[in-house]
Symmetry: C2
Subunit: 210 residues, 2 copies
Amino acid sequence: MDISSLAPGVRHFLGQAAYRELGEFESLARALATAPNLAVKEGLSTAAGRALSKHHGLITEIRRRGHEPATEMAPFVVALDGFRRETSGAEWHELLLSCYLCGGLLDDFFIRLSDGLPRDIGPRVAQLLGEDSGTGVLIQELQTAIENDVALGSRLAMWGRRLVGDTLLVARSAMPAADPAEGAEARIEPVFTELIAAHTRRMDGLGLTA
Amino acid sequence: MDISSLAPGVRHFLGQAAYRELGEFESLARALATAPNLAVKEGLSTAAGRALSKHHGLITEIRRRGHEPATEMAPFVVALDGFRRETSGAEWHELLLSCYLCGGLLDDFFIRLSDGLPRDIGPRVAQLLGEDSGTGVLIQELQTAIENDVALGSRLAMWGRRLVGDTLLVARSAMPAADPAEGAEARIEPVFTELIAAHTRRMDGLGLTA
């Protein structure tokens, strides 16, 4: 069971993944700007740098194919900006949890999807997206906050459960070619089950019930 | 005439320069988040990446000397945050002008100051700070806006004149050792004249009267 045959064309994939990483960068930069102390700010600067570097790696692939980055990303602005607005959270810890959970799930997803790209680009993109995201600081900050504040922990558990739904919708919309008649849903289902399992492990790692 | 003998110690220099570049990054990230279109957003992502890379280069130097980045930057937070608040502008073009003018002037200044650092670090820091800042997109956006809107042009000219004063104050405070009795002011003056001349050339290049 795999979804590689449901992968969109290269241009679609690169434009969407590039704008997705730019959004991840923007969210991390916002978390950095409002960080409670310098050590956390510095840690977030690393995570923001990693997201930016993934974004620029995808932009390089777009240019290598002779396309304009702004043109290629344009079709995905409305949906991904909406997604980011919905998942930005009411306060700093919710924003941090979104960066970590949505970022992790969507990186996993786009890596899976890249199996369906041509051999001259798929593996390179998978490697790029699989690079360390520098999210250690997010995990540490969230764990500490959750351990020290039971009420925050329950609120974040609810928030994490909501995030997975919104994020899977974005993932689903990244496969425009999926045709029900071809049994696409049956192939997508097990992959989504895997993505949800990884999400649950991330929640568990933070001490949150998924 | 040079100011290298007025340079602060290495730790002071690195902590201050590192936090300064982090602030430049934050300002560029904010300009990116509110950019009017995708092409400009993409251009600003390059500029933000360059500032972040200078910041991380300085952080590497701090760690190489066995110090904690957060501790080294801490003494400069209040003054530099205040400076950034004062110079962030009332709207997007003012913010953009600040990123370009303050960033240019302070990079010039810290490069000059790095002459006074030990030989095992000064030249490396000068090279790092002298790397391309990717500000082409800022120049282009500002030029176009100024050409098309006379009122905006006069407002930005006034803003640019105010920025140079605030920025020189920050530069002046970066030389804590300067002792009037040793004729420090006489050595500082010609360097500031040079910095102002470079600032004026940047203003001219945008079509603004300095």
